[in-house]
Symmetry: C2
Subunit: 351 residues, 2 copies
């Protein structure tokens, strides 16, 4: 059966102060009327009932996420006592699913992405499920790139795989520089690594045994199910012993049975403030604005106001954000550095 | 006897959002521990008791000002039903004082300036009182300029007047361009027009009769004293009929018995955000900061945070202000344009 695994572990700190400690990015209503998380769930509802959704999040966010994910059963929202990146989280999910359903197919989705065309998205997942079954492969969704983005990893595709619309993966590449990204775009056959996956849970666990044996050993000690009393202490021990490693680095780049399904459904990971320049339609002066904002002789800014007004005059290419608790100002091309501000606030114990 | 007239009519809109409709600039504690208004009052306490202080403010601010001006008797805080600039306000004050004390000497002070050295300030006023009496002249305090400021009017001084340290006024000049301001500074003998005056109230009323006869006629109808029942309706009629005109343009520039007393007591009119760059000591990167502010790779900014945090990264030469209700961002050299933002907010009915 098909299961949905939602990764809802992060805070999206690069969207501070819109995101903050008590309001992680996946709870923001970016580009829609409900939260990114609620839309992620609604989007896959036709593919699996709530009881076949499993979410992994931070223990600190668990109750908040469980509430937003209703009617997913509360015990199926698993709180990580400590973040260990994506590989241990997905491995734990696969382990749980295999014990419930030995033939489980799993779709792995981040909780905080924007998808423009839900129907196209589901059709792509259906294609991914078929390819994963038919080829017994690890399937990754590769987004057809629309710009020379330097903030994403890329997947270089090779020959067609057997299943319709699926391609063998030649190589994963790290975030490229601008020149390389432009070359990828011109060459074709390169896809953005979306962090969305489809596979048989059992196959993924084989890969874990091969490439992350420490994780596999730690998983063996998790014998309780999500509803069981021992579950919490067992996963505490699990997270204590596993390394922090991403699924891309830990599994995907090391596996030889990886397939990419080219995807084109209006995807955006909303990874930083710069993304809002795409999501909020720019005005005639090139500024993307949300909330109560008064701009004078101002161009090409990204401006967000909530619980108050932003007034700017005579500036350009800035990100300006107001919440009642905080104001952020930084150049548009330094959106990624917002993380550093949050690091500083954390250091001061104020996050 | 010496009377103090405090002009407390404006909001200081160019300091928005630190100043706002319910918190005019004169109530801000800039460069000190109490409000500019409270410090203005305390500063002249050795010169006249509270009963000889008369304040003129907007009717909208009257109660607020009266509270802050305690122990000045409540009825001596006069609310203008509509703003008519400084000449009608000062003329009304002179008219009130002359009816109470025909020989009244009056010191006219804005409510919202910073004075660095109170003792030097009082000595200068004493010198002004002497000169005003001895020469039967209108005395203006001319601040010794310390930079080629283009936001102030200048007074060109001539020969010494009879009284010690007083000079005849050759000419008032409007706000100069940068080059002219530099020439003034190099030449010497030019002083900033501070908007602080000393004169015999009766002499000022003669000048009003000469140069603003409409105002003089309107004053004749104000027969009630500040505590009288008819006072409010009489000044409503007065403000209905007088033109809006500054004391500089309406009286000072037209009079020939004007004397300037050179003044050097650390004066700042805190007219706009740029002033805070002088008042808040710059850090090693040239930024003047107040409140909870985190700056990264940021230089030469003026940043103020209240009720929240400002975080900026990679910017320079900006004014950034956070209050829970608003954020302001503008280049430092456009501080004067903050007025335009407030005009826009007023137009939207949100001031």
């Amino acid at each position: 059966m098909t299961h949905i695994v939602i990764l809802a572990g992060g805070w999206g700190v690069r969207l501070w102060p819109m995101s903050n400690r008590s309001r992680p990015k996946q709870l923001l209503c970016l580009g829609g009327d409900s939260s990114l998380l609620a839309r992620t769930l609604a989007r896959v509802a036709p593919l699996a009932p709530p009881a076949r959704v499993l979410a992994v999040t931070s223990e600190l966010l668990r109750d908040l996420m469980a509430e937003e994910l209703a009617p997913v059963p509360d015990e199926r929202v698993v709180g990580e006592p400590t973040g260990r990146n994506t590989a241990p989280a997905i491995a734990l999910a696969a382990h749980i699913l295999v014990r419930e359903d030995p033939d489980a197919m799993m779709i792995v989705l981040p909780a905080d992405h924007i998808i423009g065309d839900d129907e196209a998205f589901r059709l792509t997942l259906a294609r991914g499920l078929k390819a994963a079954s038919a080829e017994n492969a690890l399937v990754t969704l590769g987004v057809v790139p629309t710009r020379p983005e330097t903030e994403y990893g890329y997947i270089e595709a090779g020959e067609p795989a057997g299943a319709e619309g699926a391609l063998l993966v030649r190589r994963f590449t790290e975030k490229p520089d601008r020149e390389t990204a432009e070359r990828f775009l011109d060459a074709g056959g390169y896809y953005w690594n979306s962090g969305m996956f489809v596979w048989r849970a059992g196959l993924f666990l084989e890969a874990v045994s091969n490439f992350l044996p420490d994780v596999a050993v730690a998983l063996d000690a998790v014998t309780a199910g999500v509803g069981d009393e021992a579950f919490k202490s067992q996963i505490a021990a699990y997270y204590d012993s596993v390394p922090s490693i991403s699924v891309d680095y830990g599994i995907m780049e090391r596996s030889d049975n990886v397939i990419v399904v080219p995807s084109d459904f209006g995807w955006d990971d909303v990874g930083a403030w710069s993304a809002l320049g795409r999501i909020w339609k720019p005005d005639e002066d090139g500024s993307s604005v949300s909330g109560d904002v008064t701009l004078t002789e101002t161009a090409d800014c990204i401006v967000h106001a909530e619980g108050g007004v932003v007034a700017a005059i005579g500036v350009s290419d800035l990100i300006i954000v107001h919440t009642p608790e905080a104001t952020l100002v930084c150049p548009r091309d330094r959106a990624r550095d917002v993380r550093r501000i949050v690091d500083e606030l954390k250091k001061q114990g104020r996050w």
